[in-house]
Each structure stands twice: as C-alpha cells, then as structure tokens.
Amino acid sequence: MAEFKFSQSPHIKSGNSTRKVMINVLIALLPATIMGIVYFGIPALLTILTAVISSVGAEFVYELILGKKFKSILKRFDFSSAVTGLIIALISPANYHLYIPFIASVFAIIVVKMLFGGTGKNLVNPAAAGRIVAFISFTTIMNNFVAPNIACIFDNVITGATSLQSLLFDGTRLSTLDLLLGTGVAGCIGETCKIAILVGGIYLAIRKIINIIYPLIAIAIAGLVAVMLNGFDFGVFLPAILSGGLIFGAIFMATDYVTNPVSALGKVVFFIGYGALTSILRHFTGYETASFAILLMNLLVPLIDKCTLSKPFGYKKAKKEAK
C-alpha cells in the first residue's frame, strides 16, 4: 500500500491555480497584441519582445542571485512577470528606443514586485509603475505617438497626437468607428484597437478570471465625469471612454488581483475611483493618466479593504439581541 498522506481538509481542490490565471490573462492579451503588431509593425513587435523577455529575465536573475535553484524557479514560475512585461509593452508607444521598455520592465519586476516579496506581495501594479517610471524619465519619447500605417476609414489622419491629445487640446474628434477599431488613431501599441481589448475582456469574463461588471463601472464613471467636466457636453462621452488607455487599464490593469480590494463592495469603490480619477487627471493635466489613477487607487486598497469588510452571515440578528 502506498504511503499515507496526511493533511487538513479539504482534501480536494478546484483546478484553479495562479499559473492558470496568468496564462488566461496572456491569452486575453493576445488580440490586443496581434492588432498592435498589425498596426504598428516591426517596432511594436520589438518593443513587446524586449519587455516580455526582460521582465521574465529579471525575475529569473533576481531569484538566481538569491541562490534559488533554476529548476525550482522554473517549477514555481507563474507567468505573472510575462503578463507584466506584455502589459508594459502594450501601453508604450511603438518605436526603436528599446531601452525604455527594458528599463520599465526591470524596474517593474525588481523594484515593484520582487523586492516586496514576489508574486502577490507588490503594493502597486508593477506594469503601471513601470510605465510611469518610463513616462517620467523619457517624457518626450513616451509622448511621441505614431499613427498606425493602416489608412483611416475617414480621412482625418492625425500623426503625432493621439485622439486623446486632440480631444483634450483642440477639440477635434475622430469618428467612433475609427476609435473602436484603432484605425488611424495614434497611440500605444495595445491600446488603440478597443475591439481587441474588449474581446480579451470578454474572454476573461467567460473564464471567470474577472467580473466584467467592474471594468464597465469604471469606464462608465470615467465617461460621465468627462461629460461633467466639459460642462455636460454628452458628445464627449464616447470619445472620452474610447480614447487613451482607459479601457485597457480598466480591463487588464485595474483588475490585477494583487492590487485589488477583496470584497465586492471594495471593488466597486476601487473601480469608481479609478474611472473618476482618470477623467479628472486627464482634464487638468492633459496627459494620459490611466496608469497614475491605477497607482493612486492601488495605494488606497488597504484602506478600502478595511472600510468594506462584509458582515458575517447572521450578524444583524446578534446585534439586535445584544441591545
């Protein structure tokens, strides 16, 4: 007879694992990645490869320096650093300055994630933090967007400025269809084609990795706040939500488990805050601020968690009787 295993109940567990979650996120990011490469070509591909490889590499190098065996690192590797790297690439503009995604990825993995204890221990979203480091350090390059080399459906081609920048500065608006497909829209690699992002979001919702309600709340709130800030001009609703990194951030970055409140109520608060902050900061700074909003909300998570604890089953009853 085989050896006896002894452990506390439950003796069966669901097939869910961190690695499966992360692989599902990678799959969900595929449509946006592919559309990014289609739109922006070789520089996009190179940026994505650089970011992913340097993220994964940074994690392995860090673990090896700590004296872990290569095999055990491989066994415990959960693809979360690959997700981080891919997201960093997708929220960067496509160009040949490959040192920028490299620096952003290494910073995100080493400083933001590994120094705090690895997967699950980071205080803020590593990808958002990585992007912000790159953005602050190389503002000119990070803000210099190229339009995709696919012709615009309606010929109001804009080069250099993103739809968000044009919306914020000169009030020109692209057609909703262009914004949805990302055709002719200058922007980050993965953020222009909203359809691809939404497909990824729907995939995640079907696999029950995320609850699609929360990103939708954030997007709706961001649109409404933009409407309010523009003197109740409902015409800005769609352009505001379809511009910049709002949708990408809501679906792939704000939903990051680690830096999310745990309760349903807490998540609602978190996503409302994300949507509102994005719109407010955009309005007053003139930059894309989805990452900043995520970072700020991340720092509030412990507080939100503390304030939104659920009451145990049967709690009300006990309170009544105590009176």
Partner: protein, 436 residues
C-alpha cells in the same frame, strides 16, 4: 406534500459531486467480523465509561460502555462474544482513546432494549438517550440533548442535503428506507412537540424527493446544488428564511436540525428496540476498486472494509474518513469505524490536492466564496503574523471550517487549516485571560 424550492444563500462553492461512483449500489451489510474494536468516545462530549471487563461475555446489543456525563452517549456491542481487550488505541486522527475489543463467537445472541410501554415526548427522549443515539451527520452531538432545547422550537428540519461530494449513504437510505425514516421523523416530531417538519433534499436526488413527496405532513424542500448546503445555519436559512445569529444555536430561531441517519436510528431504537451499534458508510473515491454503500457495525477496522470493497488501486495516496471537504485524513488503516463516520474515501494521485501553497495573490476568491461571509484572506494574513486578536476581530471564530475558501484558492493556501489552528489558539488565549 408537493416539494417546494429552497432559497439560495449567497456565496458558497460549487464542488463536483462524484456521487455517481456509488449512488447506484444498494446498501449491503459487511459480513460478520471476527474482531470488533469499539471506541468508547464516538461522539462529542465526555467519553463513555466501559462497564465490561476483559473475559466478560457480551451479547449483541449489550451495553459495554455507559455515558460519562450529560453530554455523552452509551456504547453497545454490535456482536456477541468475549471481551478480549480494553486499552488505549489510536483513533482515525491519531489521538489515543480507549477501545474495547470483542471477539465474535458467531452465536449471534441478542439482547435488545425493553419494549416501550408508552410513547410520550419524555419517554422518546429517554429512549434516544438510552440507545446512545448521537447526531449522525458528522458532529456526533448527543441527540437527546439536542431534543431538549432551551428555547421554544416550532420547526424540525431533517437534513438530507448530503452536500459533501462522494457520499451517497444518506441518498441510498432515503430511497431504500423511506418508511423507516418517515416513522423516525414522526417520533422526533412528537419528542419536540412541533407541528412543522421540513425534509430538505438536494436537487441532485430527484428519486428521493419524489419518495418523500408522498407524505402529506412533510414539507419537502428542494435544495440548490451548492456547497455547504448541509451546514445547519445555511440549511435553516434556505428552508425558513431565518438567520441564526452568530454564536447562537438553531433553537434560537425555533429550529432543530436532525440528520436522515439519526431518524433511522430513532426508528430502530423505538420500534425495533435496537440500540445504535451499526451504521451505513459510503466507501468510495477513485482509489477504491468497487465503491459501495455498506452497513457496518461500529468497530470494524477500515482495512477489512477496504478489502471487502475489492481493495485499492496502486496509486491511491490518501485515505479520508468522511467527505473530502470536511473529513479527516487517516494516518493508518488500523483504525475503527464509529458512529459519526459517513464515508471512507481513497483518493488517487491528481484527485486529491498535492500542490504546495504559493503566495496569496489577493484574488478575493475566498471572500466571494465564504458562506459565512468572512474575509479569509485577511484572517490568514493576521494568523500568519500571529495576531490572533485581529483575526478574532475579523470573525475567525464564526468560521464553520467548510473548506470552500481553500477549495477555490488558486494559490492553494491551507486556509481551513490555519483557521482551525487559530480557533483553538484563540480559545486557549481567552481561557487563560478569564483564568487571570
């Protein structure tokens, strides 16, 4: 009465049932064993005190250990023969407890309880106490004590949820012994002096539901397939809409919950004068060659039961007494069945969990799963930091250890384990503080 649908309680886990392994096999009796080793502590409360000595001859149904207090239960011999040993042996979880070993003489001499003269609530409760009946759903709380609640009750709920995966013994009993269960329920109803009886059966047992619908005075409730539906507090909520307060007993909302098997034991004790010395056990899991529902005398060794079920396949790695969600892992097979056992599982590699815990990724799955609506992720964080006071504040004492959080955890954290540990630790700390 026509069955009605039960409510849905928020959260909880959806665990694959795996009941088809044994749900089709009729209950059969384990052949007589040469030796039975009977534990004197088969219930919650004080252990029973042996009243026989080595060398004594006992008959089937003879008292061998007398209840050792108010919350305790009598123990009877399932066979006739000679007492050959009274000593401390390991039980399924490794604790040392007194066991009485009886050698079978295969004469099958019986000595049952006397006939009941009159059937009144107090005489029924007295008979239940005498017969050594305890809650057979798993907790093993003496039934007689449960039938004398401090608060007035108006509803008796019979728990036929059997929400634990793999287990099918209650299901088989409901099909094969419907009338006996019904009569047992009527006695329980009389003992409690209540009008309303609810029989709660999970949706995945339609045959049992239709059998109970025949009785006009039973209110049959179809439960959603959800884990932990059989938890007392949740069962009361889905059947009656009442919530039992924290740290309160079901009687505080006028309910008493009894198990299907307890109802049969009550019937046996009153109509057949048979004390509680045998019960039905599901032997299942993918590691068992022929899963069965077995009627076993208490005290049969698990080894003989598994051998009777055709042994185990080679890659079985874990043995569990009870269901896979709340049952206890067994350290060796030289342990003996007792009243509270409802299952014996052999899990094969891949069926049990063999993943080591990784870092918590804060996904909140445990929070959206916890049927008690606690915050397992934060509780575990504080327990790991040895901050038991904070864990208590978060409500760890309300944890019912159902295992839903640990089941769903993608990081495979041993959540239930740390809560069980914290509960014991907090009790210890509080006891020390009150002593001061």
């Amino acid at each position: 009465m026509k069955a009605r649908k039960g409510k849905y309680f928020p959260f909880g886990a959806h665990v694959p049932g795996n009941k088809e392994l044994s749900s089709g096999s009729m209950i059969e009796a384990l052949p007589p064993q040469e030796f039975l080793t009977i534990n004197v502590c088969q219930h919650i409360g004080a252990p029973a005190i042996p009243v026989v000595e080595v060398g004594d001859n006992v008959k089937k149904g003879q008292l061998i250990a007398k209840e050792g207090g108010f919350v305790s239960a009598n123990v009877y011999s399932p066979i006739s023969g000679e007492v050959v040993d009274i000593s401390a042996k390991q039980n399924a979880t490794g604790a040392m407890q007194t066991h009485i070993t009886v050698k079978n003489d295969f004469l099958n001499e019986e000595v049952f309880l006397p006939n009941m003269v009159e059937i009144t609530p107090s005489s029924i409760i007295e008979r239940i106490r005498l017969a050594g009946i305890v809650g057979l759903g798993g907790a093993g709380f003496p039934t007689a004590v449960k039938l004398m609640p401090k608060d007035p009750v108006d509803t008796l709920i019979i728990n036929g949820a059997e929400c634990e995966p793999y287990l099918t013994c209650d299901h088989r009993l409901m099909i094969e012994k419907t009338d006996e269960i019904y009569k047992g329920i009527i006695y329980l109803k009389k003992a409690l002096n209540v009008d309303k009886v609810i029989v709660a059966i999970e949706k995945n047992k339609p045959d049992a539901i239709s059998l109970f619908e025949r009785f006009d005075d039973l209110d049959v409730v179809i439960l959603k397939k959800q884990y932990p539906m059989g938890s007392e507090k949740h069962l009361i909520y889905v059947c009656t809409g009442k919530k039992v307060g924290l740290g309160q007993l079901p009687a505080s909302v006028g309910c008493v919950v009894q198990n299907i098997k307890t109802a049969i034991a009550v019937y046996n004790a009153i109509e057949l004068n048979k004390p509680l010395y045998e019960g039905v056990l599901t032997v299942s899991g993918h590691g068992i060659n022929t899963p069965k529902n077995l009627l076993v005398p208490y005290g049969a060794s698990l080894k003989t039961i598994i051998e009777y079920c055709g042994g185990v396949v080679d890659d079985s790695v874990k043995y569990v007494a009870g269901g896979p969600m709340m049952g206890k892992a067994i350290i060796n097979l030289d342990v003996y069945t007792k009243k509270t056992d409802s299952g014996l599982l052999a899990l094969i590699k891949g069926e049990d969990d063999d993943n080591l815990p990784t870092n918590c990724i804060n996904c909140g799955k445990c929070v959206s799963t916890c049927p008690m609506r606690l915050t397992p992720v934060l509780m575990e964080f504080y327990i790991n930091a040895k901050d038991f006071k904070q864990a208590e504040k978060l409500g760890v004492m309300n944890c019912i250890e159902c295992g839903s959080c640990a089941y769903n955890c993608p990081a495979k954290r041993a959540l239930t384990q740390s809560f069980a540990y914290a509960k014991a630790k907090i009790k210890e700390i509080n006891a020390k503080e009150t002593a001061k």
